[in-house]
Symmetry: C2
Subunit: 345 residues, 2 copies
């Protein structure tokens, strides 16, 4: 029996392991999972089977309409193949549900326009979970440091998002940017999110961008390197993403963020401090008085609790609607505008 005071969600599209991360976050925030659906024939179903095994209490349903038409469900989560996420979102919005998508929320400007229209028509929310900020304690702590004024006014962010390719584990759609999104649409959407968040920009343009294939000549539709230069109404931004993480690194990627302020700066080594202190969440702050390695162990992640409250209160604590739109739009535009280099077709 659904409890009247708990937010209920369902998952439609379980083609990326991020589905489990989103579900876990919502469950930990007190939401209830009403079921999941994954489209037959989209893949070998391995991700959906792993999801079912991880959440044995969650029922799989054959017809997604059973979830979309269930009035007790407020939120549809999707981690479908990226080029299907917009269709899932639009259907969910028109069914009166809010939507939380794994990133990328969609892979084309046309899809984004359809989502914008559906949000405008329905008054529902469409969020994208930019997990490289929202799931990372050191990044949340960094936001607090900035808010405390310790580094002055933020001038610029530099984000690095290297990833390990692990090619044999990837589904076929991963290597086709029409399905998975370009490298900037996919990986750099996190970076755009962080740029907008830390500079406080609400308008921005892609000044220049590059996508390239330098290490995978056998996969000409796959970009293994991408970069973009951003200029916002409240700061500058640069980001680089790549699929070159070597096996010697003890984690999947050495994600970094540098936030430059007029009176100081901070650096986050999110997942690893290379040849340094073990563990993740390494935050360094330099201000007018000192250099400091900031402990982030006890930082709470507000995203999912805020999101659950936003669903009931119709507020925008977790993320503004316009932020989800702008971050997604800039990442897609960066791919469309990019100069292409190397082995790319």
């Amino acid at each position: 029996m659904p409890s009247a005071d708990r937010v209920r969600f369902a998952v439609v599209g379980v083609e990326h392991p991020h589905a489990a991360n989103l579900a876990s976050g919502l469950l930990a925030a007190g939401a209830e999972c009403a079921g999941f659906h994954n489209r037959a024939g989209e893949s070998d179903g391995a991700v959906a089977r792993a999801f079912a095994a991880a959440f044995p209490q969650v029922t799989e349903v054959d017809d997604p309409r059973r979830l979309l038409d269930d009035p007790s469900i407020s939120l549809i989560v999707t981690a479908d193949v990226p080029d299907r996420r917009a269709a899932v979102a639009v259907a969910a919005l028109h069914s009166g549900k809010d939507v939380l998508a794994a990133k990328p929320g969609c892979v084309s400007l046309d899809e984004l326009a359809a989502i914008r229209q559906a949000v405008a028509d329905t008054g529902r929310f469409w969020w994208v979970c930019f997990s490289e900020r929202l799931h990372v304690r050191s990044v949340v702590r960094a936001s607090q440091v900035v808010a405390e004024g310790r580094i002055g006014r933020v001038v610029q962010t530099i984000g690095l998002g290297p990833h390990r390719l692990s090619a044999p584990t990837r589904p076929e759609w991963f290597f086709d940017q029409a399905r998975g999104g370009g490298i900037l649409t996919d990986l750099a959407s996190h970076q755009v999110d962080q740029f907008l968040h830390f500079t406080g920009s609400t308008q921005a343009e892609v000044v220049a961008s590059t996508v390239a294939n330098h290490a995978n000549p056998g996969r000409p539709r796959f970009a293994d390197f991408g970069e973009l230069l951003l200029r916002g109404d409240a700061g500058h931004g640069y980001a680089r993403v790549d699929w070159y993480t070597p096996d010697g690194l003890p984690t999947w990627g050495d994600g970094r963020l540098t936030v430059l302020g007029t009176d100081g700066y901070l650096e986050i080594r999110k997942y690893v401090d290379v040849a340094g202190v073990p563990g993740g969440d390494h935050l360094f702050v330099v201000d007018g008085a000192q250099t400091e390695r900031v402990d982030c162990t006890d930082v709470e992640l507000p995203f999912y609790p805020d999101l659950v409250r936003d669903i009931t209160d119709r507020t925008e604590r977790a993320m503004t609607q316009s932020h989800s739109f702008l971050a997604t739009e800039l990442a897609i535009r960066a791919d469309l505008l990019a100069t292409r280099a190397g082995h790319l077709a």
Copy 2:
């Protein structure tokens, strides 16, 4: 008495403390200093007095022609006000001397064209000392790591060149970019040098650049922030420079360089490892097998010994002539092309 087998140099223009660094490097490499001249009235002469005190064995001469016309002198060093360095260089080249300039080697494309012409006419060398690579043991060691093939083919460099402003210690020309050079011409020439060096690019273009004044509204002709995006024939590059280094940092700037390869990457924290290991020259390498903090204590700096040999042998071991030209040209072009932001006039 000059010894016949030692390279003799003289310094013309002592307006920046880099004059002492260059002279020290040459002396340590076995060259002999034949004298120095500084133009009267250019400044209060404080830098030249400090130079004279640091090198009491070096004679000051009133007329630079005495140095330019001395056939025992092979090399003219200059750290004049940047907008005078080209004139010093051209006069020296036409007097049959090689030239070693502090960076920036000049501040305009017209000046650079005059230097190129003088080099072409005389067959002499014009070098710019990009000290943030050539004086730094960890960067020299990084070059060796790349040459060993540990990170595969270099795809990209990201350079950060933050500096402490220390405004009260700066001469008036420092705040006038027509005299001192723009922030990209000045600070980012180091970054361009490192990009060309590590990617192995011999041709490159400035894709986009920005200069801004975000923290010094009272000095509208001074840029305190700059960035540039570079695309070379052998790799990509991004660099940011700024004058925001806060007092809490125990050194003048947290200079960084990240070199991304197809099979690994390296990071250099040149002058400080924030809230980490004391000292400078922190080199980190990640390759297919491991992460490693590389000891750079015993690395020898080859630049000045190579330069002294190049003068006698007419070789290009220390730096190719075309590299000095290209690094300087790109840095100046980046300033000319830059989008301007903030309080800049």
